[in-house]
Amino acid sequence: MSRSLNEVETIARKAARGAGYPWGIAEESAAAMRWLARCGIDGCPALASLLERTDGSELGDWSPEPGIVWSAPGGVLCPLMAGAALSDHARQLRQCAHEFARMASPVLLLPFAGWAAARIGANVQVTWSGGSSFTDGERLALQGDPGRDLCGVLVAVSDGVPDARPCASRAFPDPRAWDRLGAFAGRIHAPASETSRRLGAGGADGIDDD
């Protein structure tokens, strides 16, 4: 089934929040999934797998600590936390490349490389063992599949963007991944309670009276 990019954005925001991320990172998750969908990439399986791995753990364990190589105290970086840091530190790319240690669901880092490119007005290349991607902020060229886990990722300013992927106006998410995201998204909805009903929730407001 085809989905609107708005639907992809909405489920990604809710799911990331449902999995325990702060609202600001949930917003990044939404924008990243929309960015990927516009480049014709279904990020849902990668996001679902990431949220299942980080669920219930300490976010700090997955967050990047600055260094020559940015790495996570827990051993594996979250691409949303690493991506947010990359996009926030975009200007440093002008001076030197950013190297990240082991990272989960690395395809989710690519939109942040795009935003870093847009911020500094340059093309940015993401390289990993067996592949690379190029972006100017709008378009993406992808050579090889970044897969489930990467041992290391290098982000650097590059010359051009070869053969960018065509722009997509619809998303075609994997249905199973969509349902897994839906389960996380459902966690942000408050269950009905007797107290809430007594205090007026879902009450008579709006009943037609004319």
Binding site: M1, S2, R3, S4, L5, N6, E7, Y21, P22, W23, G24, I25, E27, E28, A31, R34, L59, S63, P64, P66, M81, A84, A85, S87, D88, H89, A90, R91, W115, A118, R119, S169, R170, G186, I188, H189, A190, P191, A192, S193, T195, S196, L199, A201, G202, D205, G206, I207, D208, D210
Partner: protein
């Protein structure tokens, strides 16, 4: 323009909830932007199918040709039993359901829509659909009008005035909802570039359909005896709309977009206040709209005690404006600026905002172009500038959230409410934080409290540290750092009031949004839902022209 330039009104005064809850329609309202374009470009309307039975069940198609393309409304009538009629967003059946389609539907489209449109939220839509909506009959008025017309008589004017519409919509969904096309995909079309134009077009077509339907049902019942509704009477009818809590979070969730609405209107007000002198024709037009506003306000009925008092005060305010401009030398130095300055002490907030909208009326050539600045070109996406220093960030917090830094957030009444989404109905709700187990489910709709929390942590950092470094340690403040950076170039983005206090009124947030749609006759039914009128007075398709596309909001004066 030469001479003195007036200033923009200060966001700290405009962005208060009470002020936002007093906003009025203007030349920059989305309905008026649309009717102006429809007349200027001479859009052609046609009813291409009307297969409805005597109960109002069936399907109808209306098409509209604008310069570069055609849109179609596909409408379904359902004849809902009275006991199933509810305005709540959670209802599952309606008297009529609609979709606005890109292009002209073929049989397959109609079959697909016949399965999905009546289901609304439970249906699936495609890239060809722009907007989905539904409406219920006013049970008070519908039967009265059908009975009268079927018997060859006109309905009672008093009853028509009291309700003001034959059907009211209970939701209008666009922007990619339930699979419909994303706004980003169609925003470059000139006719959809201003906000909510597709939604406003669908509602305009719904109003035409409703008139056709009521006359059709009356004809089926009365046969040759039946008459059509008097055209002047029909024109006074609008489309009602019932709006609940679901709309209130929109203006917080779309801060940059909301800024552009307010900023466009404020810039329009500033431009008119800078006009050095008014011509006789400009004064005459202003006076005409002022007098016709009196009729509009006189017919504004509300059962809500607070709103009723405010409407009564607005009637007085309009008299005060009239007295003020009697023998008014329009040639004096910046007359509109003086009038607005006077109003700030002399009139209620309702009166001040009504006047601020009214002074724009004679100046279309100055202000109408601002409609092109009201969309958000980034569709809500905003990238944080990590290189900003914390000294600058703190300055922005003080400038845009000073009001929030002064609130004692430890007091229970300051955080009495929490916005959440219910599992039961997936609808936004406002609960009592200290009485219900909802805090863990809270939506980020309290920028003031969150700004105060972020600022407390920021103060512990060195001023020359960067936002990027701060956010590495404090990802929980990321959403509010984004908001404060939005405010840097969008000073009207944020409501300067506590949106979770014990005393806040959600209807103020809804009123602000609905006034930009161009709604009138706000009739709050509680502090959290409101009925309004849309398009009352607008000419029907075919009658709209450059002579009447602008002033239709204001009722004609009866000699």
């Amino acid at each position: 323009m030469s001479g003195r330039q007036a200033s923009l009104r200060d966001p700290s005064r405009i962005m208060r909830l009470a002020r936002l809850g007093s906003m009025h329609q203007s030349r920059l309202s989305f309905m008026r932007i649309l009717t102006r374009r429809m007349a200027r470009e001479n859009w052609k309307f046609a009813r291409t199918a009307f297969d409805m039975d005597e109960r109002g069940t069936g399907c109808a198609i209306y098409s509209v040709d604008c310069p570069e393309r055609t849109y179609s409304m596909v409408a379904f009538g359902h004849d809902l039993p009275d006991e199933m009629r509810s305005d709540r967003v959670i209802a599952e059946a309606w008297d009529a359901t609609f979709a606005l389609l890109d292009g002209v539907p073929d049989e397959t489209d109609v079959e697909r829509l016949a399965v999905n449109v009546p289901l609304q939220e439970a249906g699936r839509f495609s890239e060809r659909e722009l907007v989905v909506s539904r409406a219920n009959r006013s049970s008070r008025l519908w039967e009265h009008v059908v009975t009268a017309l079927a018997a060859g008589a006109q309905p009672d004017a008093e009853q028509l005035d009291a309700v003001g519409y034959l059907m009211r919509t209970t939701a209008v969904y666009g922007s990619g909802k339930f699979g419909a096309v994303d706004y980003a995909h169609v925003r470059r079309r000139p006719e959809l570039a201003a906000p909510f134009q597709a939604e406003m077009l669908l509602v305009y077509l719904i109003r035409a359909f409703v008139l056709d339907l009521v006359e059709h049902v009356a004809r089926c019942r009365g046969g040759e005896l039946a008459v059509a509704l008097d055209r002047d009477t029909a024109r006074k009818l609008g489309i009602g709309n019932a709006t609940g809590l679901g709309m209130a979070p929109f203006i917080v969730n779309h801060a940059a977009l909301f800024n552009n609405w307010i900023a466009a209107r404020e810039e329009a007000i500033r431009r008119v206040r800078s006009v050095p002198s008014a011509t006789e024709a400009e004064l005459a037009l202003f006076l005409d709209r002022l007098q016709r506003s009196e009729v509009l306000v006189r017919d504004w009925r509300s059962g809500h005690p607070v709103q009723r008092t405010r409407v009564e005060r607005l009637q007085l305010d309009l008299q005060l404006i009239k007295a003020r401009i009697e023998d008014w030398p329009g040639g004096e130095n910046c007359p509109w600026d003086r009038l607005v300055a006077w109003s700030e002490a002399a009139l209620s907030a309702e009166g001040q905002e009504c006047l601020a909208s009214l002074i724009l009326e004679p100046y279309g050539t100055l202000v109408d172009e601002l409609s092109e600045t009201m969309a958000d070109p980034n569709d809500g996406d905003f990238r944080i500038d990590g290189s900003m220093s914390l000294a600058e960030a703190c300055g922005l917090f003080r400038e845009h959230y000073g009001w929030a830094l002064g609130i004692d957030w430890r007091m229970p009444e300051a955080t009495a409410r929490a916005w959440y989404i219910s599992e039961e109905k997936l609808e936004p709700r406002l609960g009592e934080r200290h009485g219900e187990d909802i805090a863990d489910f809270e939506q980020p709709l309290s920028p003031g409290r969150d700004a105060a929390r972020a600022y407390a942590d920021l103060e512990r950092w060195a001023p020359n540290d960067s936002v990027a470094a701060f956010l590495l340690k404090h990802p929980e403040h990321r959403h509010v750092i984004r908001r404060v950076q939005v405010c840097r170039t969008a000073p009207y983005a944020e409501i300067h009031d506590n949106t979770i206090s014990a005393t806040m009124l959600p209807i103020d947030m809804m009123r602000a949004k609905l006034s930009f749609f161009g709604a009138t006759n706000f009739d709050p039914k509680s502090d959290r839902w409101v009925r309004i009128r849309m398009y009352a007075g607008v000419p029907y398709p075919g009658d709209l022209d450059s002579g009447n596309c602008e002033d239709w909001v204001y009722p004609e004066l009866v000699a």
